[in-house]
């Protein structure tokens, strides 16, 4: 391996233009390594100190035929010298490794955006697989873009001709050539990636050498050929000081639960059945056994919830992770947790439904299922994470509320948060709150359904505790003794107690904060993963002089206790959500507010621009 300078500086060559934010999308066949390419570009942007947000888009099929439209895999990164909160609407640059990737992604590219294509992949067969009748590189259909065909494969092979790799192995390094070229375009250093290659292939020095050569070849190609009339730089962002790590929502959830269990001094028990896009949490937590984490891959969604509830009964923190169809199957168990008044956290990583729907696409259409999708009067706590990093905090919050209030909690995430990532300002463990389980070991005066006067939580008594044997279950309980009761007044009383217990949690959560004017014409109210799009839309409008207020819900039940008062301070309330208006329906029902629903149900997140346009439209009306 060479030791010479690996951070070339543009001594001469094209002018350097300073930009505040850039969106790059790498797209190729699922075998082309686009996710790794995107990850590395992200790591370098992070190391430079940019704020960033990323979103992968991979095919649903395990191995779609190479070169076809269903096989296209893409990775988008938004990096900036400012505070940003979405992976960006349209890419400024699209790197397309084959015609299929071009066809699937070109509609998103900004007009006059850079389009870098792997010209070696545009033969007649490649075009046919992608469904092109004529070569788009020649038929002027791409004239709206700054198109740069580069013989990426040929140049990569040429750069690697001295290595001992097979032709196939050499060809597979072409993504690093593309990465090198992008590093040149944005004046990024290569050292972060070279160091990573050294770690990644520490037992395969030939691969370290080859990928490093390809990376540098891409960079040098950009420098030597001056194909770009201009290169760019994006200076570091002014993020709050501290240590950061780029994290996706599913990893953040996993760490949040580990942290909560540790802070509560409890073993963590995950019952889960594989389902997209939740399975990664099962994978990740199954690797944390030394944190006293027990993962149980159940025979079905129902058993996953049942086992988690059993573990909670026995004194562990029982959690399950699933997506919409799985939440439907768990609803009976959640009802039992309501009746048994035991802690249980169920994470629903929402996807586009109903039924199997579009499992790899995002949606927020399970809100009403989470709130009401059970038999009987069955109130549960419902939370919603708003950014990938927020998944850590909401997992922690879900566990805290479940444990301290002895209630089941449903935590909503979605496919966009699960796979998207953003920088996470790492907390110190010493700054995390402790969670104190209400274990009771004193048999004196004990009754299974006696209640804490403030929270109405019943005591948590672990089987094995002497002198406190008791029976719980799904049958209605006499308040206090917990004996089975069919008494009409007691049932109504218990329905109210269970509701009141959840309602009182409003005293244990932060009141809603409004960004911007505290009263006025328009409040944009979102929940869950739309936070990034709404926040950047509102900020960009403010930069244009159009000022509206914004607030965002993370606690869906109980709602923050000042929500009604906040709503009534504004003449109009706009509710953007990725469903047919579920929160808007709720706000109308609860607060008699004529909420304006802005609904999108396409399996895609909101674009910043879409929300800006809708706000403008509302203001004009």
């Amino acid at each position: 391996m060479t030791t010479k300078q690996i951070t070339p500086k543009p001594a001469s060559g094209p002018r350097v233009e300073r930009l505040s934010r850039v969106v790059v999308r790498f797209a190729g066949d699922s075998g082309d390594g686009m996710q790794i390419t995107g990850d590395r570009f992200t790591a370098t942007a992070a190391a430079i100190g940019n704020d960033l947000s990323t979103l992968p888009d991979f095919p649903a099929e395990i191995r779609a035929p190479a070169g076809t439209l269903p096989g296209v895999s893409a990775f988008q990164i938004h990096f900036s010298s400012e505070d940003i909160s979405t992976p960006g609407d349209e890419p400024d640059v699209l790197v397309a490794m084959n015609p299929a990737a071009l066809k699937v992604n070109i509609r998103d590219l900004k007009p006059n955006g850079w389009l870098i294509v792997n010209a070696d992949a545009f033969g007649p067969k490649d075009l046919e697989k992608a469904g092109y009748e004529t070569n788009p590189l020649e038929d002027h259909s791409l004239d709206a873009y700054r198109i740069l065909p580069v013989e990426i494969e040929k140049l990569t092979k040429e750069a690697l001709k001295e290595t001992k790799l097979t032709a196939k192995e050499k060809e597979r390094c072409k993504n690093f050539f593309a990465l090198g070229l992008m590093y040149y375009l944005y004046n990024r250093p290569l050292d972060n990636t070279v160091t990573w290659l050294g770690r990644k292939f520490k037992d395969k020095p030939a691969f370290i050498e080859a990928n490093t050569l390809a990376l540098k070849a891409g960079y040098t190609f950009g420098e030597a050929t001056e194909i770009f009339q201009v290169t760019y730089e994006v200076p570091p962002a002014k993020l709050p000081p501290g240590k950061y790590r780029n994290i996706n929502g599913n990893s953040a959830l996993s760490l949040g639960f580990v942290a909560a269990a540790q802070q509560a001094g409890l073993p963590l028990f995950l019952g889960s059945y594989p389902i997209t896009p939740a399975s990664d949490v099962l994978h990740e937590l199954s690797g944390y056994k030394n944190f006293n984490v027990f993962t149980f891959q159940a025979e079905d969604e129902i058993a996953a919830a049942g086992a988690a509830l059993g573990a909670s009964f026995a004194g562990s923190l029982g959690i399950c992770t699933t997506s919409g169809p799985g939440l439907a199957l768990k609803s009976e168990t959640i009802g039992l947790a309501v009746m048994a008044e035991l802690p249980l956290v169920v994470v629903d990583i929402q996807r586009a439904g109903p039924s199997t729907g579009m499992p790899t696409k995002t949606e927020q259409a399970d809100l009403l299922q989470a709130l009401f999708g059970r038999h009987g009067e069955s109130p549960v706590v419902v939370l919603a994470a708003c950014t990938p990093a927020d998944c850590f905090w909401m997992a922690f919050e879900a566990a805290r509320l479940a444990i301290t209030h002895m209630v089941p909690v449903i935590l909503l995430s979605d496919g966009y948060l699960a796979n998207g990532s953003d920088p996470w300002l790492l907390p110190k463990v010493s700054d995390l709150p402790r969670i104190v389980p209400g274990f009771r070991t004193d048999p004196q005066g004990f009754e299974p359904y006696m209640r804490d006067p403030a929270t109405l939580a019943r005591p948590w008594v672990r089987p094995g505790t002497p002198g406190m044997q008791h029976r719980i279950g799904g049958l209605e309980k006499w308040d206090g003794s917990g004996n089975v009761s069919y008494d009409p007044e007691n049932h109504e009383h218990m329905v109210h107690v269970r509701a009141e217990k959840v309602a009182r949690i409003a005293h244990d959560i932060a009141p809603l904060q409004v960004q911007g004017p505290q009263s006025g014409d328009l409040l944009v109210l979102g929940w869950g993963s739309t936070y990034g799009a709404i926040t950047s839309a509102v900020a960009d409008l403010a930069a244009e002089g159009i000022v509206v207020s914004q607030t965002h819900l993370r606690h869906m039940n109980p709602l923050p206790k000042n929500l009604g008062e906040v709503l009534h301070r504004f003449r109009r309330v706009l509710v953007p959500e990725l469903n047919s208006g579920q929160l808007a329906l709720l706000l109308r029902g609860r607060f008699l507010v004529d909420a304006i629903s802005y609904s999108k149900v396409q399996g895609q997140p909101f674009k910043r621009r879409e929300i800006m346009e809708r706000i403008r439209k509302v203001l004009e009306s």
């Binding site: 780029n246 056994k289 006293n292 988690a308 059993g310 168990t333 094995g464 002497p466």
Partner: protein, 353 residues
């Protein structure tokens, strides 16, 4: 049943669960303060009593026992036992019990279920708890009818059975619970009968002593909706002729004077008169055989041609899920050290602003 023959005595050598010392308790100590509410004459009373007696004989403190159930007449049992109890959801007791046992392997965990709860709505959980060999004891009250919902046919009702939901007779083929359990790789499979007091108790004790999932089918009379379902072998006058009381290591004999025996013929069995043929050809029961083939063959026996087997068909050792899960956690802790949360959160590519 000769309990001495129950082989290796795989009882709890390490004493009582959670390391407690043996306690002296009586049947009365296990009676809860709840009024028992099954129909007068129900077979469940005898099974409940056997639970009380068996728990007292285990020498385990009451708080170390958890009885889990689903829904149905049998599933009311936890309310009537003064241990920890969880009356859960129809069919789901094995799932809940798995969570309890993994969370605290020191507990003695029992499941009371029925033919509808365990084999119909909860069939999936039953086969998987057996396959995984979670150390829970499953007692399936089989009365071949839905009792609590008042008289519909169950997955063990005979073909042609007339019930409320099959006025012209059931068109369905029933399950054989023992065959299901063996097919699900159960390590302990037994059958007993509600009124065979000593036999019932001995089988429950053997189940308690087994390390791993134990499956016990109890023929239980529902005197309201399916009275007399087991009269062909339950009464004193027919018991000797129509039951095969299986004992490990002993020839398989039946009849008033144990004058009849079973002999292999092809892939089945035939009855021989041992006074004529001697014992040489008579099958010897081996509950500990690794290969479940003979156990499965025995599970298929019954009326009209052959007596019904009772006792322990199979009792073998295999790794136990809850223990394996804890061993794995302990191994990882030993290898990596106890988890350091700060290090975990701050792992991966980090940068400082």
């Amino acid at each position: 049943m000769n309990h001495d023959d129950d082989g290796k005595d795989n009882g709890r050598e390490q004493g009582t669960p959670n390391g407690g010392t043996a306690v002296q308790l009586t049947r009365k100590d296990f009676e809860s303060d709840q009024e028992v509410r099954w129909c007068p004459g129900c077979g469940d009373y005898a099974i409940l009593r056997a639970f009380h007696v068996m728990f007292a004989k285990l020498g385990i403190p009451r708080e170390q026992i958890v009885v889990v159930s689903g829904i149905g007449c049998s599933s009311r049992l936890p309310y009537y036992v003064d241990t920890y109890g969880f009356h859960t959801i129809h069919g789901r007791a094995p799932a809940v019990a798995t969570g309890i046992k993994v969370a605290n392997p020191g507990l003695s965990v029992w499941i009371a279920t029925g033919d509808g709860d365990g084999l119909s709505i909860g069939g999936n959980h039953l086969i998987h708890v057996l396959r995984r060999n979670v150390d829970v004891k499953i007692v399936l009250f089989n009365n071949r009818i839905y009792g609590l919902t008042k008289g519909q046919y169950s997955p063990t009702s005979e073909q042609g059975k007339k019930t409320k939901s099959t006025p012209f007779g059931s068109a369905e083929n029933p399950f054989n619970p023992l065959s299901v359990a063996l097919g699900a790789e159960a390590t302990f499979v037994a059958r007993t009968v509600d009124v065979f007091t000593q036999h019932l108790l001995a089988v429950l004790e053997a189940a308690a002593a087994h390390r791993g999932a134990a499956f016990v089918e109890v023929y239980q009379n529902c005197n309201i909706f399916n009275d007399g379902a087991f009269d062909f072998m339950r009464g004193k006058e027919v018991r000797d002729e129509n039951t095969l009381d299986l004992q490990h290591g002993k020839p398989i004999l039946f009849g008033k004077q144990l004058e009849k025996g079973l002999r292999l013929r092809g892939t089945g069995v035939e009855v021989v008169n041992v006074q004529e043929t001697g014992l040489d050809d008579v099958l010897v029961h081996d509950a500990h055989a690794e290969d479940p083939t003979l156990a499965f063959l025995l599970s298929r026996l019954g009326p009209p041609e052959l007596p019904t087997p009772i006792g322990i068909l199979r009792s073998v050792e295999r790794p136990v899920l809850d223990q394996s899960m804890h061993e794995q956690v302990n191994e990882v802790v030993a290898r990596k050290g106890p988890g350091n949360l700060e290090a975990l959160l701050h792992s991966g590519d980090t940068w400082t602003v």
